[in-house]
C-alpha cells in the first residue's frame, strides 16, 4: 500500500483523518498515485492538479524521503521506500502568512 499525507484542508474536503492508504498499480509514479487518490476521493479532482492539463497546482509540493519530487517527471517511479510503505508520499501546501 502507498501511504499518502494530505494537507489539512484536503483531508477535511475528502473527509479523511490521518494518512490515506492506496492500492496503486505498478509502476508506482506520481501520476499513478494521484490517479488512485482522485479515483478514491473524486472531490479532490482539480484541487491538486489542474483537471485538464494535470499540471501540479503552483502552491503545492510533493515530498518523499526528505526529497522534493515536485519537479520530477510525473511518470518517473517513486522512491523504493514509498513503494514499500516505509515512507509516505506527502502532498504539501506552500506556507504563507495571512
Amino acid at each position: 500500500m502507498i501511504r499518502v499525507i494530505l494537507p489539512a484542508h484536503l483531508r477535511t474536503l475528502a473527509q479523511v483523518h490521518g494518512e490515506v492508504a492506496l492500492d496503486v498499480p505498478t509502476p508506482v509514479t506520481q501520476r499513478a498515485v494521484l490517479d488512485a487518490l482522485e479515483a478514491r476521493y473524486p472531490t479532490l479532482r482539480g484541487t491538486i492538479r489542474d483537471p485538464l492539463s494535470l499540471q501540479r497546482r503552483p502552491f503545492l509540493r510533493y515530498f518523499a524521503c526528505e526529497q522534493d519530487l515536485s519537479f520530477d517527471p510525473p511518470d518517473e517511479p517513486l522512491p523504493e521506500d514509498v513503494l514499500t510503505g516505509r515512507q509516505p508520499f506527502i502532498i504539501l501546501g506552500a506556507i504563507a502568512g495571512g
Partner: protein
C-alpha cells in the same frame, strides 16, 4: 412567523446568520469551509433549502458546495469549469494578449424556476450554467464570443463576471456585468449577448464612451420593474429605464459617486441604496463615516443613513456583492464590511445594528426570506 437567513461569504469561510421576522436576535453558524475564501453563496428562490456556495483558495482551486437543508450540511458538487472551444485571449494589463484562464467563481445565481439550474459568473470573465444541481458545468460561450472579448482587460481585482440578473417577467432575458468590460444583456437565455453601455462615461479609458471597457461594479434590478436598472460604476451611479439601452447618471448629491454596492428596496422600486466609498485607491468611507445613502426618488436625491453605523474612524470597505435586502415588511437591508461586520436594518435603512462584529473580511451577503 417568517424568518430570515443571511448568507455571508468571507475571506476565511462562510457564515449563516438566522433570525425570526422581528430580526432582533441573531444566531451565527459557521465557519463553513473554514480557511477557504467563499466569494459567494446564494439560495434557490424556489427551494430555500438549496444553497450553492463558491469555495476557493489559490492553493487548491475551486470547489462548489451544495446544501439541501438550508446550510446545515454540505456536499461538494462539480468543480470543472472548462471554456468552450479554443479559449482565445483577452487583453492583459500591459495591453498584450493573455489566454483565458479560469481562476474562480465570483457569483452564483440560482434559476428562478428550477433549483437544479444555476449560473456561475467566473474569472476570467465567462458565464457557466449547470442544469444538474452543480454537478456539471457548461459555458454559455456566446458571451465571450460577443466580438469584443479580445478587448476586455482586467481591473485590479481581475477580469470577472460578478453580476448575474435574471428577469422574472421575461425568462429569456438576463444581464451580466464584467469588471472591466461593462454590462451585457441576453434576450435568448444567454446564447447571444449585446453590450449595453451607451451613456456610460469613463475617463480612465482612452475613449470615455466606448462600447466596452467600463468598470461596472454592480447592477441592481427590482423584480417587479425589470426594465429599470441601477448601476454602481467605478465612479458614477447610473440608471437605465429601458433594460440597459441607455444609461444616465443619478449620482446627485452623493459625497462620492464611487462605490461598489447598489440595491433596491423590496417593495419600493424607486428606493435605492448605495454606500459611497472614497477613491481613487483609498477605498474607505469618506471622512471615516460609514454611511448608507438612500434615494426614495430613483436617484439624484440621496439622504445619509447613519443611525447605528460608526461615524468616526471607520475605514472599512463594502465589496460589490456584500449588500442585500429581505422581502419582509418593513424591508430589511443588510451589508458586510471588509472589517468583518455585518450590519442589518430591519426598517428600510432608518436604523442599523451590527449582527456580526468580528468575522473575517466579508466578500458577499445574500438574504433568504423564509415562510
Amino acid at each position: 412567523m417568517s424568518a430570515v437567513r443571511v448568507l455571508v461569504g468571507t475571506r476565511k469561510g462562510a457564515f449563516i446568520l438566522s433570525a425570526d421576522g422581528k430580526r432582533d436576535q441573531w444566531q451565527i453558524s459557521g465557519p463553513h469551509f473554514g480557511g477557504w475564501e467563499v466569494y459567494h453563496l446564494k439560495g434557490s428562490p424556489v427551494d430555500p433549502g438549496r444553497i450553492y456556495a463558491s469555495q476557493s483558495t489559490s492553493w487548491f482551486g475551486q470547489i462548489i458546495q451544495r446544501s439541501d437543508d438550508g446550510g446545515q450540511t454540505w456536499q461538494p458538487a462539480g468543480n470543472q469549469f472548462t471554456y468552450e472551444g479554443v479559449p482565445g485571449s483577452h487583453q492583459w494589463y500591459d495591453g498584450t494578449p493573455h489566454p483565458w484562464e479560469f481562476a474562480r467563481v465570483w457569483h452564483l445565481e440560482p434559476a428562478l424556476d428550477d433549483p437544479d439550474r444555476v449560473y456561475a459568473g467566473v474569472e476570467d470573465a465567462a458565464l457557466f450554467r449547470s442544469d444538474d444541481g452543480g454537478q456539471t458545468w457548461r459555458e454559455l460561450p456566446g458571451l465571450r464570443a460577443h466580438g469584443s472579448g479580445a478587448q476586455w482587460m482586467p481591473g485590479a481585482g481581475g477580469l470577472s463576471v460578478h453580476t448575474v440578473l435574471l428577469d422574472a417577467h421575461n425568462r429569456g432575458r438576463m444581464y451580466i456585468a464584467i469588471s472591466a468590460a461593462g454590462a451585457f444583456r441576453s434576450d435568448d437565455g444567454g446564447q447571444t449577448w449585446r453590450a449595453i453601455n451607451r451613456g456610460l462615461k469613463s475617463d480612465y479609458i482612452p475613449d470615455p464612451d466606448a462600447e466596452v471597457g467600463h468598470c461596472v461594479h454592480r447592477i441592481a434590478m427590482h423584480p417587479d420593474r425589470p426594465e429599470v436598472l441601477f448601476m454602481q460604476k467605478h465612479w458614477d451611479v447610473m440608471r437605465s429605464d429601458d433594460g440597459g439601452g441607455l444609461w444616465y447618471e443619478v449620482s446627485g448629491n452623493l459625497p462620492s459617486d464611487f462605490g461598489f454596492v447598489v440595491d433596491i428596496h423590496a417593495h419600493q422600486p424607486d428606493t435605492v441604496y448605495v454606500i459611497p466609498i472614497k477613491s481613487d485607491s483609498e477605498h474607505y468611507p469618506p471622512e471615516g463615516k460609514l454611511r448608507v445613502y438612500r434615494s426614495r426618488s430613483g436617484g439624484n436625491e440621496w439622504e445619509a443613513l447613519t443611525r447605528g453605523l460608526p461615524q468616526q474612524d471607520c475605514y472599512v470597505n463594502v465589496l460589490r456583492d456584500a449588500m442585500a435586502v429581505d422581502r419582509l415588511d418593513p424591508c430589511g437591508v443588510y451589508f458586510g464590511t471588509t472589517g468583518g461586520q455585518v450590519y442589518a436594518s430591519p426598517d428600510g435603512g432608518d436604523s442599523w445594528n451590527a449582527i456580526a462584529r468580528n468575522l473575517p473580511a466579508v466578500l458577499s451577503v445574500e438574504v433568504q426570506t423564509l415562510p
